[in-house]
Symmetry: D2
Subunit: 142 residues, 4 copies
């Protein structure tokens, strides 16, 4: 598995604002999309059935630094890197690139939870989800 | 001026997701709404005309910690506090409260810019915008 | 009960687009907000528990005509009128007013459904939800 | 040019709601995306420079019928068909297909406008934008 996971994502009209740039909150949607694409790329989903429960990954912390604005119809590379993996949580960095230019850097930490009608309970990451995360983490070592 | 500025904001249906909670990216829209309400409360706007240019406040850094989920129709208090003020930038914290419970804590740093068709240029905060910010900062001192 | 139900709703920054106007898709969110406010005003919710099931109102048809653009920070009146009520469905019109000016006219038809994990099944509108709708319909007669 | 123009579009997590389905307002964003993709496919953009002005296409009427819900991670075909072309406006239908199943049918009418800071003025469709629309209209004839 590659050290990073990348998708291309074009900025859509509805995602701009009257400052004519990608609205700052929408970067967080982009972060989510590359993370969910990663899960699909390993044959899983961010919403997974496990032992009769539904596993999901609510965020406990997110953040983003913005270096230069993105505009309508820009096609960005969203580069996902796993930065930390604990018993119950995973952290990623997401680079926003337009060609060689780094427009933004996002960070997100999500906790593995079972969910039931809006109630969330943290659990250990089950093996079938941990394995692809460990492979991604492994590949980062020198 | 009070040390903090607060608005009430109800969680709307379209802002929830299939985990039955307020989607994590939408917290950033809530942060923006209380900031813009603050500007209106002092007779200004986040988009202000100044010397033939339009002033706006693009973000250079945002973040959020999530402690407990918010649900559909929850009425939250969004509490804005000014945490830093420089020549060109302002930083805020935004608490998300449901009654006495703190659901989340957001942070944002915005830079005063003139904008022209999606191009942004940082400038010193003009006096008419600096004054209400200084009053808010002042009121925080013991 | 009044013939119509009205809320005030301000256009937020994130809801504008690079044409500097309220993005056309966001009118549909506004329509939903006034409808859900109506339910709250009669002590109900668009998501209601009934006989161990959850009732909701998925749309089967929506539409909007746009007469003039709405801009950032405009405070609109959203005026909800019940236009049709059948055994299982309700139709509304929603006027978008800025002062006396009619900016848009929306229409929506929703069907009363029980929902279970994304699966929806149409049912007769239960009495506790039908009563406030009939009162609204009644009040429209001359 | 083909009679229709189609893109694939996956339903993202942030686009679902607590009914576990694609939120009805987001269909309108999908409609816009296939329309804008069409413009790119003919080497144009929905925001085009022309004679020192910016041309855009605000909507005057939109609508959608919903036949069956779309869910998270569904990959939909969005099929754009030109249904009417006048001196100043263009109308489209957009089919939402999941495999062979038709989930929804959208309609939109947009008017060719020059825009200046949120002010919109209807104009005749300039030749360089009319040509690809006429080719699409032409190809629909038997």
């Amino acid at each position: 598995m590659a050290k990073t996971f990348t998708i291309k994502r074009r900025v859509q009209f509805a995602e701009t604002d009257l400052a004519s740039i990608l609205h700052f909150a929408n970067y967080y949607r982009f972060m989510e999309e590359v993370e969910h694409s990663f899960w699909r790329s390993v044959g899983q989903s961010v919403m997974a059935d496990h032992d009769g429960a539904v596993i999901s990954w609510p965020r406990v912390k997110t953040g983003c630094e913005y270096f230069a604005p993105a505009h309508f119809e820009d096609e960005l590379d969203l580069v996902l890197t796993l930065t930390d993996l604990t018993n119950r949580s995973v952290s990623y960095e997401i680079e926003f690139l337009r060609g060689q230019q780094r427009l933004a850097l996002g960070r997100t930490t999500a906790v593995c939870c079972t969910m039931d009608n809006g109630e969330l309970k943290a659990v250990s990451i089950p093996a079938f989800l941990r394995t692809p995360l460990e492979e991604m983490a492994q590949s980062r070592k020198p």
